[in-house]
Every structure is written in C-alpha cells, then in structure tokens.
Symmetry: C2
Subunit: 368 residues, 2 copies
DNA sequence: AATGTAGATGTAATCGTTTTCATCGTTCGT
DNA sequence: ACGAACGATGAAAACGATTACATCTACATT
C-alpha cells in the first residue's frame, strides 16, 4: 500500500504538499496539484485514515447503538442515518446491545475513539440514564428517549399525540369499549402510546379500565396471544389499539381464526405504518411514523456537534405522526375510497414544520 | 482524554509496561498489572484505537456493503453479522451503495484502511465483477453472488433448489399453468429462482411459456401490479410462484380486491419466509431462507482471513433452503393442520450440514 | 564466587498523517 | 531599484500507541 511518502518521492515534492493537495487546505499550484493527483492515482494511493485521525482527532464516523429488537422500524431508521451519512461523507458504525445499562456502557466504551458522535436508540429508561454522563462530554443524540430528567440532545416521535389521535378516532366512530395491546414494559415509546390512549379515554369521559390493557412486546406472536386474552373479556371490547403494527398483524391473524370480523366486530388501529400495512386484509388503519426521516434528522442534528466534538446541546425535538385511515378501523370512507388523516404535532414541544398534511389512502395499494 | 503516557507516569512505570498490561502480551507481574489497571481506570484511560491500528495495521472492524434495497431480509442479515461481530469483538461498519460498479468502488475506497475485511451484498452481476480485483488482495466475502467467473470467497443461498422445490410442490398438487413473478432484472438471486422455476417445469415436461413470467422488482407494489397482468392471461394460470414474499403480499392484496380466492382459484408460493408470512391470510407457503444465519456464517467465514489480512480463499458455500408449506398453496394438510417441508441442499456444492429438517407449520402462529 | 539464564521492565524507533513555522522566489508599490 | 508582502513549498514536530531490543535484577548452576 502506497503511503504519502511514496507519492511525494515519486512526484518530486514534499509530503506536506501531497497532504495539502488531498485536503485542499493551503493553496497549491494547479500544476503541482494535478501532477500529485496523477502520481497518487497511479500508485493507487489513499490517505490512511488511522494516521489521519490520530493527529486530527476526527474519525469521520458516527456510531449507532441499537437495541436488540429488530424489524422494519429499525432498518428504516438505519437507512435514514445511512443516507445522511453518505451525503456528509461520514461512516456509520453500528452496534447492537442488550438494553441493560451495563452492556450499553460496554458498547460505548468499545466505540470510544472510533467515532465522532453517537446515536443511541435507547427505548428503555435505564438505558437512557446509563448514557447520561457520557453525553455530557461527547456528542450524543438519543432517539426516542421519552421524558427524562437528564440533559441530552434528543429526538423523539409524537407517540402520545399519535396514540391520542388513534384512540380519539375510534371514539369518534362511536366506540367506548376500547382495549389496547401494550408494548414491552419499560419501553418508553410504548409507555407514551399508552399514556396517549389513557388521555384520549379520559378526555372523552371514559373511565380507565386496567383489564382492557393487554400485555404485549411488539412482536407478531404477542399480538396473536393478546387477541385470545381480548376475546375472553366481557363485555367484549368493540375496538382495540395496538401499540405497533406487528402486533396488529398478530391480532388480525388470531381474530380471523376466531371468526371475529375486522372492523365489523372489532375495530383495529395500529402504530408505525410499516410498508405492508396497506396490503393487509383489512387494510390497516395506523399512525404513520417516518422512521427513515427520524434517522436522517438524527444525523443532521448530531453532525454539527460531531464535527466540533462538542457535546450536543440538550435540546429535544419531536417528529410529528400522521393518522392513516384505512379500513381496519371501520371508518366510512368517501366515495373514492379515500379518507383524510391529519398530522399531529406534539404539544408544548418544538415541531419540525407547521404543515398539516392531508393523507389520502384506501385506494389501490399499487397506486400509492 | 488520558493517554498511555499519563497512565505510565501516574503508575510509575514505562509506557511499554502499560501497553503490555492492556494487551496481555508479555508477562507482567501481577502486582504491577493490577496497579496499572487501577491507575488506568482512575484516569478513565482507554487505548486510542487510531494509534493502535496505525502501528498494528489492524482495525478490528469489518465493513458491510449493502445494496440500496432494504427490508426484512437485509436487516436480518445485518443482525446475524452483528451477532457474530459482537461475539468476536469486531466492529461493523455499514455502508450502502447503489448497485452500480462505480459507486461500489467508491464505497470500497472510502472504507479502505478502516476495515480488516469486507462483506459485500452484491445482488447484481456487474457489482460482483467490480469487487473482483479488490478481493484478490483483501479479505472479501460476497453474499449471494450467483455463479460468476471470478475467484472470490462467497456465500449464497440455494435459490435454484428452493425455487425448484416450490414449483415442484405446485406441480405435485396438480398444477400445470404456473406463472412466476420475477425479481429485478440483473438480480442474481432472482435469476437463479427463475432458473429453478424453469427447471421444475422442464423436468415435469411442461413447456416454457414466456408470457407466464411477469415483471417484478421485489416490492409489494410490483407484486400488486403483477397480479393485474396475471389476471389478463388466458387461459388463466392456476398457480403462481413469487420470487419473494413481499411481492406475494402484493399479489394476495390485489387478488383479494379482484375476488380471486387463494388458494382455491389461484395457488401461491413465495420466497424468503419473512416473519409475517405466517400471519397473512391465507398463511403463506414459502421457501425459508435463514437470513440471520447467512450473516453470521459470512462473518465466521471472513474473520480468519480478516485477522491475518490475507485475501479470502475463493471458496463458495451455499446455505440450504426449506419449503414451508402453509395454506396459500392449497396443499391438503394433515389432521393437526401441519405439513412437512424438507430441506433442499444445493446440487454439486458443499452444504452446511446433512440434516433434512422436518418443518411443521400451519398451526396457530403464536405457537411457532 | 563467577557465570548463565530467565523474567520484568525500560528505551527508542516506528506507523502515516497533519500542521506550524521557516524559507525562498516573485511581484508590486513607490 | 528596493524592501514588503505574498504565495508556494519544505523540514520537522507532533499524535498515541506497539514492539524489537537493551538492560537490570534475582536466582540457580557450577
């Protein structure tokens, strides 16, 4: 592998000049620059990034710490991160870890020195706490941290507002006995969605009923199992809000097996709007979260701090969600089969933009 | 940030000793080692990986080059890679690129010097070719490269055998007019699946009919659109093999809209066995590919070469696939609702193991 | 007691860059 | 025509580790 010295010798210049050519730093004569470039490409020279980052204290890499969960949501977030990274010429170092504080600290330690900034998806409260002191002296951005006391740059989605809108929609359709399939306990997104569910009930004057909150863990199979518990409840709920789409899929499957019709016998709303939501039968009404944008935005927020290696300022931002009305909720759809959803801005937090997007859906999926 | 010098000074030893303590290389007195460790942790010292890799020529990182496609398959592969990496204390640098040769070369160049080895998911033939000369002097492992002339370490899945089994299964059920929804043109996996489809037809003495091969690109919407084309074919096919599950989902959705019953009016088999396949209605008969294992195995294969930084030996290995019989193919299922699939070993290539796994499915998804 | 040996530790070179500062022509204002 | 200013380039000192080699000590061997 050719080094900067080889290029310098071959081109008859000093290594400083070669370095300048590659960094476009000080002004070098066009002729020399061109010559150096020619020689460099002939020798197939490329700057050694270890040597470079040793002296510059920059790695041009961002770490992404994921929870152990996987699925479409995460892969979309990574995709967004990757898109932004590529645009900004940064590398992405991914690393997953069990959610517990100990392994998170270990993972962060292993990443240390290899990255200029860190994006942490820490869906659990203790995970968030574990990152706290590190974030005070390193550029860290938390994804979906929920409400926490620690001061840290964070980006979350409007879980509460989205869930509220979903449940409110069911209430507006006349439902009163509305169950919810919860997410994993300790998961902050799940917690906020539950809070939104409760708030919507309370605001409509519907009493809180603990037995309507069914256990779940975001997996299809937990949704499947929740359906069985659901059907044992008397009087039977007429609607159910699933904390994510995967569980909604499990629900649909179990309900079909039990000959419970969706939405006639039981209305259903999910959360996330994963790609296949519109291809399910019935087409799933759900709360759209733009996971890809979340990742992209996280990178955008983090990069300025990563470049200067200063801790990110403790500013929280919340991405809006959109209720996508399809068929599983049983809403009457307009003649063309399309309904309108509105964008939910988080209360009391800054939001990304002001527009309220109108969402038409319910037509042929292929057209969307 | 404390350096090795700070620790050495503080502990009253030389930097060489500190280095030895952290690398467990030469024997150091237990007392000194313990003392150094104490001081190091007090100063919150951690070896600078740039400096370390500058002199050792090792980065302890593996690059993963992905195509632009996303979805469950890729996220599962990454998950497998990540699992193996964590076990072996390697970092994972992901980078996606358009499939064309030019951007792949650019991506490889950007990764150069930061990684000890590279896993490339190159579903296209030209992408594979682009990597060729690089692989001759660097540890590279190709995923899903299909049959290519270049000598390179590779890992693929038994596309041909899986597709053959799927179509053969449909033939055994009495179907003769069997269509196929193709994958993206140029995609090698898709090509092999198509070859398996044709082979199964040929072996059963069914003539090749080009009009039964419908365009698709692995997306749900392309499956949806293919269904429309499918229904215009006269005489109408009685079965269809989709080159992946996402397209099968699009097909199911479109067929339902058109009141075509699956499997009664049209039998359907997919490919990949994504998580939700068993929750679809009807439950999808498909060819299982263990994407996670693929990633894990890739890492296993690559690491020995990455450690020594020697080009991987040009050896190809193929992971078996399994036909999972559920309801969408219309097969009669045993009394307990379960059917048996068998594992397909690639012909003429080495396979991972000899077992022929029996797969029972068709029961309640929650129980699987 | 002299010598050999082995284990523990230190010294210093090295990895491949970036960057400060010095140097050396040019050109320009007067 | 002369010094100033400036633009292009080079020399050399970091950056923070690893490691070959040297050194030193303690102890066994003769």
């Amino acid at each position: 592998m050719a080094t900067i010295r080889d290029v310098a010798r071959e081109a008859g210049v000093s290594i400083a000049t070669v370095s300048r050519v590659f960094n476009q730093t000080a002004l070098v004569t066009d002729a020399t620059a061109q010559h150096v470039r020619t020689v460099a490409s002939r020798l197939d020279y490329w700057p050694n990034s270890a040597a470079r980052s040793l002296i510059t204290h920059r790695t041009h890499a961002i770490g992404v710490l994921l929870p152990d969960l996987y699925g479409e949501f995460f892969s979309e977030v990574i995709r967004g991160i990757d898109m932004a990274a590529r645009r900004e010429k940064y590398q992405v170092l991914v690393s997953s870890s069990r959610a517990n504080a100990e392994t998170i600290v270990a993972a962060v330690r292993a990443l240390r020195g290899r990255i200029d900034g860190l994006i942490v998806m820490a869906p659990d409260a203790d995970a968030t706490a574990a990152i706290g002191d590190f974030a005070a002296r390193f550029p860290v951005l938390l994804l979906n941290p929920g409400a926490t006391a620690i001061e840290v740059g964070a980006l979350s989605i409007a879980n509460h507002e989205g869930a509220y809108a979903a449940v409110r929609h069911l209430i507006d359709l006349g439902h009163r006995r509305i169950a919810m399939v919860m997410g994993p306990s300790g998961n902050l997104d799940a917690g906020e969605r539950n809070a939104g569910y409760r708030q919507a009930r309370a605001d409509a004057g519907i009493a809180h009923l603990p037995e309507l909150e069914l256990a779940g863990d975001f997996s299809e199979s937990s949704g499947f199992q929740a359906a069985e518990a659901l059907m044992r409840i008397r009087p039977r709920p007429t609607a159910v809000f699933a904390a994510n789409d995967y569980m909604a899929i499990g629900l649909i499957s179990a309900l079909r097996d039990a000959d419970v019709r969706v939405p006639q016998d039981l209305a259903l709303v999910g959360f996330d709007d994963i790609a296949i939501a519109q291809y399910l039968s019935p087409m799933l009404t759900t709360v759209r979260v733009d996971a890809c944008e979340l990742g992209e935005r996280a990178m955008q927020r983090l990069l300025p701090f990563a470049r200067t290696r200063r801790p990110a300022e403790p500013h929280r931002e919340t991405l809006p969600t959109t209720l996508i009305v399809r068929h599983s909720c049983g809403a009457q759809t307009p003649a063309n089969g399309a309904t309108v959803g509105s964008r939910h801005r988080p209360r009391g937090t800054r939001h990304l933009d002001d527009r309220t997007s109108a969402v038409r859906d319910g037509g042929a999926p292929g057209e969307v």
